[in-house]
Symmetry: C2
Subunit: 698 residues, 2 copies
């Protein structure tokens, strides 16, 4: 409906503002974008898939925040199915499909089917099992999920309570939930969608030397640890749970509204012998004995793969939050410069305030830090994967350690970073126009899922203590990996370490020096952990916080090292000011981290205390150098407006126009007139319903 | 429907676990609860009001997370109206009413009416205006809101764009929105509920020495700054906006689903002269000149009051998150002790892991730190208020500074603390059973609302620089307040400062010493700011981050000082181990803060670097001392299960039973069977709707 607001303009033109920002930096956005996102044709795929999705009404995002959680699952399932159909009609390959999921930006009810479910069958199924299951899976004739975590156990997989008891007479397994806490819990796609499930359960076999001759009791069984089973959980026609199974959705969560995370309990549910995935282990048909035919560590391979993907994803998530906040904070003006003498001065762009910069620009730098380590992880995973496939499990420890430490650090940086960006945008950051609500609430799962961020750092520390112990025992053995190299360097030099300077005469000393400082600190903390645990034999529990900090330092060292190595080589392919700007990002990320954990660096004699006190000034200078390029740097991440779904982050800077449009023209609440008088129970004016409609929903 | 899950029990009994926790501490919970919550009969009121609310179906919380945002406003309005009716039938006074709002735990669509709206009329209305408006307000015959913030301006009130132009001929004001960014924005209760509004607008009057004789142009007007007007915005019968007003709800936000934060634009909207609240300023009826009849600083009095309440509220919010996480982390068990030699050992309670303690226990200590400073602020506000009412505006600067710094620090501690507690609970923290989703998403507004947490710290720093300048100029003047005392002490001693030790031979040196360290750091940072700004004349903008850190240090010093003073005197009224446990909380809060910002303390020569390196061990010891009392300490905050609305935080420890009940028996999504086959567009199995219902909502 036309009204007097139609012709109103904002006091400042956001489009002109962002254009001026772009005009004032010589960074070549297409070149940098290609540098960042060229792998596997990401940019081309994104453009192509975006065209398809954005014209489908089903994928419109504008009313999403007005839907209830049950409605969001309905919508999520509709979209998941539509993407399947589009995938076929458009001839999308699996990388295109993943781009579609990324752009659709919600956890699909099919997600687990095409990730953990298919991966587990592929990795752990025997040739025969794969032959049977894979066509059904790839054709989506069945929908699978992955039921590992339980109500009572997440991190401690060995403590799972669900049992799979082998019945040698009937040649069947009996899957059973002895306690309420044995209920499978959190498992995605299981609540309402899946027809089948991978179930991880304790394999119980009769003890070989059992004495009693009557029917076996619990004491006659022994556990062979968690094993994986594939089973049908719902009827093919009615989609009702099979008898002996209770399964459903666990209810609303912080995020993942579109996903049916589920619970599942078994009441002596029987499955045939073929249900156990038997590439690496099986129960002998004849003797009922446990037969291992491969390395059990591979069972955790899928989890490591998921962790790798999580790190690769973190950079784009953080880039998205940074994109929104950088653009908005250029358009947003507030207060004149306190020292301004000219009354006609404009109010300042808030991104010109160091108090805003210090929250956003180090995170902008972090997006690149995550990127280069994401690329590194990708290479490391593929290299190790090949070795493992060949039967050599040697690299698994290094891979597991790196993936654990980095998963913990990178998801924390991204999760905290979203919220930091949001707060940096002041009041409007709290509104739906930020476009960060869904991203934020979904992403908050990452610090605790697929290995809790605090728990898994213990594994990193254990690995580093072992490496340090080995290197102390054999100081001259040839180094097998960068960690060996670092520890050997450290052990040779620790007797005569001179704490380094980062900043001298208000200048950064040099970049290689920064890398060395991060590495030294990680090595020294490893040595301290070795000293406390191996030499002084302190209780593990007592050391836990120290070990967590060690993991963080070790992972930060990986980020800094990769960042340094990569921008150095990137300088050959990038032109204009871009290499220098990336160097500034490297320095900003490193110095900001150094400043935040300063006492850890001084305690380990990595840097001198005096040098630390100069960091804040150096950081303000670095932010000043980066500031003119901020808009173009976020442009290079090439996050389409359609995905951003953010008034504040619009590419064209029409922030206020979009916010007003959302409120005045697209908000369904404004189509209803209410009765605000407390004397009446009526809620909608003139409805005379006496409030009954509201009560009915409770 | 009964099924095989009905008789399942968790592997461990949560009730017995929490009972054992309670049995192992001698803290007197009722005594400590009274110590914390005795003010104005809080505990008695809570119990009485809870009985009333909890038996009304309208206030049931169990389906809240399944409602859409528009439904949440319907519900919020219904509840606001019901509380009005209950308030009258039960004879609740205003403190009871506030308890009802606290227990109802959602932002009421009437909230602004009884806070900023009535406060502004009371403080800024003339006697005549109060006589006219107050009966209507107190009787809720009208519903008011407070329209200050605009789309383009929040923090900078002087930059507001809405104008109120005086028409001397008609003796009317013309309220107008010249730009889109002039739209009032965010104003609570305005979107759908309010009938009236306080509108803050730039008062434009004709220049007294205007030359031209024709009709006045814009250049003939001059602004007299933001002034407050009271006006009707909606029709009494139809509840439609009056002609010349566009008003509505701004749409979904992170939190505050039940609140109709609004936008409002004016098209040359005319109001009579009496609309301007005129206790301190008015437009002369005869000359059209601006007449000030009081101190303009009082205009910001209401905002200061709201800030005071925010600080008082923060402790209960944080206590709630800590209550949930402490109880859950006692019931939750995961992994056996890594050093355990006994295979029959139980898995450990996760609260026994230092890596869990370090996230929760310092926050438990922080609830008490906030409490004692909340009490301090309460006294300070009331003392200053009386002085201001008497016409002495002297204390306003100190009050404004303390309230700004503390608002910034305390809301950040509480907002971050909720999320820290959530993550400490691992996977289940992400679920609706945490009970933290609503609390979290609502509370995230606090760091940016009522003065952005980063922006307002600049005011604190400006105040401290001024105080330091004054004390340097007149070192021997009698101190007017604790800040003067501290600065004078600092100036006398800064030439011969010896950095102090906190920990010596693994023992904490003494408590008074800790207080002195925090105070010294704040004073030294104040001196550095003075030096940089006043002596070296550095640009304000360049110093902003340093100034923000100063405000934080100053406010931390207030928290530590008040905590120390209060537990010292509390020791006289509390028996058993409670005083010692509070002392442990004081030490833990202080040392944790010291460790987090260690380089700020060493740089200012408050402590020695060696002393800082011993903090982590001391903190682990303090947490060990606090651990046995954790459950009883959170019990003392007396947060009813009904308010917690949390499976994880249940008083009786029936965590898993409640989680399962929510999922299996109370989740509406499980009442629907879906069609998971991508080949069909049907969503609900058998409905044959072809997905049309989903599309209709987009």
């Amino acid at each position: 409906m036309p009204d007097f607001t139609d012709h109103l303009q904002p006091a400042h033109d956001g489009t002109a503002t962002l254009q001026a920002e772009r005009d004032s930096s010589d960074i070549g956005v297409p070149q940098l974008a290609k540098h960042l996102l060229d792998r596997d044709g990401f940019l081309e795929r994104q453009e192509r898939v975006l065209k398809v999705l954005s014209k489908e009404k089903l994928f419109k995002k504008s009313q999403q925040l007005n839907l209830s959680r049950p409605e969001r699952y309905h919508l999520g399932l509709a979209r998941a199915k539509a993407i399947q159909r589009l995938s076929r009609s458009e001839g999308w390959d699996s990388a295109d499909y993943q781009i579609a999921e990324y752009l659709n930006d919600e956890m699909s009810p099919y997600f687990l089917h095409m990730s953990m479910f298919v991966t587990t069958v592929r990795e752990q199924g025997s040739t025969e099992q794969q032959k049977y299951w894979m066509p059904k899976i790839l054709n989506y004739d069945i929908i699978g999920c992955y039921a590992q975590t339980e109500l009572g156990h997440g991190s401690n997989v060995r403590g799972l309570e669900t049992t799979a008891k082998w019945d040698p007479a009937k040649k069947e397994f009996e899957i059973h939930s002895p306690y309420l806490t044995a209920s499978k819990w959190w498992n995605g796609s299981m609540g309402r969608t899946a027809t089948h499930a991978i179930v991880v359960a304790q394999l119980l076999l009769l003890k070989p030397n059992r004495k009693s001759s009557g029917p076996p009791t619990d004491a006659d069984y022994e556990s062979h640890g968690p094993q994986t089973f594939i089973l049908q959980i719902r009827d093919k026609v009615t989609h009702q749970p099979l008898p002996g199974i209770a399964v459903g959705d666990i209810g609303p969560k912080y995020g993942y509204a579109s996903m049916d995370n589920g619970y599942m309990l078994f009441d002596h549910f029987r499955v045939p012998r073929s249900a156990m995935l038997s590439r690496y282990a099986e129960v002998s048909d004849e003797t009922g004995a446990f037969v291992r035919t491969g390395h059990p560590a591979v069972v955790y391979g899928s989890l490591t793969f998921v962790r790798g993907q999580i790190i690769m994803h973190a950079r784009l998530v953080l880039a998205r939050a940074v994109t929104v906040s950088v653009r908005y904070c250029c358009v947003r003006r507030q207060f004149k410069d306190r020292d301004s003498k000219n009354p006609s001065d404009d109010e300042m762009k808030v991104l010109d305030y160091p108090t805003v910069q210090i929250r956003i620009l180090p995170l902008l730098a972090t997006t690149f830090a995550l990127h280069y380590t994401g690329e590194y992880m990708y290479r490391l995973y593929n290299q190790s994967r090949q070795t493992i496939e060949k039967g050599d499990f040697g690299p698994l420890a290094e891979l597991h350690s790196a993936s654990s430490g980095l998963k913990s650090l990178c998801t924390m940086l991204a999760a905290d970073g979203i919220e930091t960006c949001r707060r940096a945008m002041g009041g409007h950051g709290f509104g739906g126009g930020s476009g960060l609500i869904g991203l934020n609430s979904d992403y908050l799962s990452k610090p605790t899922v697929e290995g809790d961020n605090w728990m898994i750092t213990q594994q990193v520390a254990a690995y580093l203590i072992k490496k340090m112990t080995d290197n102390i025992a054999n100081p001259d053995r040839p180094p097998k990996d960068p960690t060996d190299e670092l520890f050997q360097f450290y052990l040779k030099n620790r007797g005569h370490r001179i704490p380094q300077s980062v900043v001298k005469d208000q200048k950064i000393v040099d970049d290689q020096n920064i890398v060395e400082i991060f590495q030294w600190r990680a090595a020294d903390l490893s040595y301290r952990a070795y000293q406390a645990r191996v030499v002084e034999k302190k209780p593990w529990t007592r050391l836990m916080i120290q070990l967590h900090n060690l993991s963080r330092a070790y992972s930060e060292q990986i980020l800094v090292t990769n960042f340094y190595n990569s921008f150095s080589s990137a300088a050959k392919t990038l032109s204009g000011p871009t290499p220098e700007v990336l160097r500034t990002c490297f320095r900003l990320y490193a110095l900001y981290t150094l400043d935040t954990y300063a006492s850890s660096f001084t305690m380990t004699t990595a840097v001198s205390a005096e040098s630390v006190y100069g960091l804040q000034d150096a950081i303000v200078d670095l932010m000043g150098e980066l500031r003119p390029h901020a808009v173009k740097l976020v442009d290079a991440w090439t996050i389409p407006d359609w995905l951003l779904d953010s008034a504040l982050g619009k590419y064209d800077g029409k922030v206020y126009e979009e916010l007003f449009d959302m409120a005045h023209r697209r908000n369904p609440l404004n189509e209803v007139t209410f009765n605000p008088d407390w004397r009446s129970e009526e809620i909608v004016l003139g409805s005379g319903d006496g409030g009954r409609q509201v009560l009915a929903k409770l």
